[in-house]
Symmetry: C2
């Protein structure tokens, strides 16, 4: 039988344009914060989610670099990559390591240092998550891909331009209460509608930013967590992971995200919970349309009802099921390899009741949804606080 696994520590670096810090600096900041939060003295193994330090920083072999700089070498250290879902993939690997009994205390981190490049390198690096031979070669990058999804969703379901804007407005409202957020200010629907066009119908305030940042969590067996944890352990109750056609043009329907649906179903089954049991969710709002399609794909609302649901306030703090109370990728920022781990950090912070002004009351059960590219990979994880 495998062992139950819990998170006993969480940490974040600063998030934003961190020109004064290097890739390794920000990773170490997050890792040390998580280690201090957990109160552990020793790490047995380490997993690092990172999308493209090769292109952004000229650095592969990243887990060894970071284990060395953190001062934990010679422990095993592995970098894992699934584009913007790399962080949640790292969490899955760390879970497997502890559940199997290979390690007792595992550090799972995610990091991306995206602002040290010039010109169009960041856009090029991000586009390596799409199909290089069949999509990128023909000139499409992610704003274009998500714009096509938005157009199709508007056409099929009547989703409105204003409903898309409501996603960004909500997430900036939430982010205004998050001290780590890169853009911690409120915006209005009018601000979104008047912002610069990126790829019709998506405007700049529909798009998550380029961010430097890192996040880390400490895992250990649940039984150990109950003994050594300084705070309430948060159990990893369910994990789901699936893939899909890498290219958008290969899919039968671009108004839904099948990998996210399959990952969510697997996580619900493993956790034995239903969407309506959840107290809060962090989802992958790389673009405003993404949050709407994800809400539908995870079964939170019926297909086509995501836009009206957001506009109704249902997913706002205080609503029926708050989504992205951290501010989401849009306001908090999106250092791609760190995002999945940072989502877990937010859920743990909320389940412990430590989220300050953005606290979801009586939160017991939370979920993260993290995806790569235009949904070619997705991971969904479910967490429950232990009393």
């Amino acid at each position: 039988m495998s062992r139950d696994v819990a998170i006993i520590g969480v940490g974040l670096s600063k998030w934003g344009e961190l020109w004064e810090q290097s890739l390794r600096d920000i990773f170490v900041d997050a890792a040390l914060a998580a280690i201090a939060d957990a109160g552990v003295e020793k790490i047995d193994s380490m997993y690092v989610g990172n999308m493209s330090a090769g292109i952004f920083n000229g650095q592969e072999h990243l887990a060894s670099v970071l284990a060395d700089y953190l001062g934990v070498a010679p422990i095993p250290a592995a970098r894992v990559e699934s584009a913007c879902a790399s962080g949640s993939l790292a969490l899955k690997m760390g879970y497997m390591d502890v559940a199997l009994g290979m390690s007792e205390v595992v550090l799972v981190g995610g990091v991306e240092k995206m602002t040290d490049v010039t010109g169009d390198v960041a856009t090029y690096a991000l586009a390596t998550a799409a199909d290089q031979d069949y999509e990128v070669f023909n000139g499409v990058t992610f704003p274009g891909l998500y714009a096509m999804m938005a157009r199709a969703h508007m056409e099929k379901y009547g989703t409105t331009r204003e409903q898309l804007a409501e996603v960004s407005v909500k997430n900036h409202y939430h982010g205004s209460m998050n001290p780590v957020a890169q853009y911690p200010f409120k915006i209005t629907v009018e601000d979104v509608l008047n912002s610069v066009m990126v790829a019709d119908p998506l405007r700049i305030l529909d798009c998550s930013p380029i961010t430097d940042g890192a996040a880390a969590v400490i895992l250990c067996p649940l039984e150990m967590a109950k003994k050594i944890g300084k705070k309430q352990p948060v159990k990893i109750l369910g994990l789901g992971h699936a893939t899909d056609s890498i290219a958008l043009h290969s899919r039968a329907d671009v108004t839904t995200l099948p990998a996210t649906t399959k990952a969510a179903q697997a996580a619900y089954k493993m956790a034995d919970v239903k969407p309506e049991d959840l107290d809060l969710i962090e989802v992958h709002d790389c673009f405003s349309i993404a949050e709407i399609v994800v809400m539908e794909s995870i079964g939170l609302v019926e297909p086509g009802k995501g836009g009206p649901a957001v506009a109704s306030g249902m997913t706002r703090l205080g609503g029926k099921i708050p989504v992205n109370v951290s501010g989401g990728l849009k306001s908090k920022g999106h250092p791609v390899g760190a995002t999945g781990v940072a989502q877990a950090v937010e859920i743990v912070t909320q389940l412990r009741g430590e989220a300050g002004g953005r606290q979801v009351q009586n939160a017991r059960l939370g979920m993260t949804q993290n995806m790569g590219g235009s949904g070619g990979s997705a991971l969904v994880h479910i967490f429950r606080v232990e009393e």
Copy 2:
């Protein structure tokens, strides 16, 4: 209790300068060969070892791309990276997945498509496995790093230029019997000594080549393997994984490889075997000096005795303990992300008695040693054929 895990299928693509094939083509060739060899109809999960498709091919999100092209999406698929040890890291992840019971049948692949770049891009990409901020920034790349290790080893132990050459001569002799080898011809000590200087004392025939190639293995629980396997199952008996300072200048002694030593010790312990029990070993001979230092670091010979041991014929086919009967990285080729998986393919082929002219007689127990960079990461795995 975790489950025992076995390899039931192996496959390789062509290896060499494959200008007529893309990254995804060669991966699919290896994967389909492994699936056919195993006789399985369904894969539950997939791991891909790859060092730098981001730089070489403009393609991250690689596991989803490859799952899609192989036709196995929506299964979970993860790319893992530890520079030139990425393949062995993928094997470790696949082992964990099956041992834990998350999946029944897992495909573990490794791939690198290195020849589609121009100018010095390949050297740049490979150098991202070193410390970009402190080594590469100052102009050193891998031939230089291994040349420093060679100079130190010659100074400390009296290792000779001719002994280094004997590594390449032996591996080319072995490779001459391997149909997949990129350079399947014999060479002499004189050929090595007269070849072009790369980084004194290392000449071009001390260096492994730039290679396109892929390798794949199919894992399943040992109990299942005994029922469904078309051939003798090969049990994964031990796994070891460790890290070290990423930069050579941070190490107390550059004539040894501590991560390799720690990984080997962990694998020996898990497998409950000693170096003298082994029938053959595949090691990471990225440069001739590497094979000598690895032999010492895994405890095959005493420190300083690696050079004389190679010159004595001890590690040649027919000798006491054949090393790199595949031809090694030097003759077989070194598509960096594929190498660790290809080492496992060779061991399985040998343990099944299917290695043709390069067959090690009565081989029952084999080992692979695979490392990243100048030894900043290392993985050692031990395999035993089941009757």
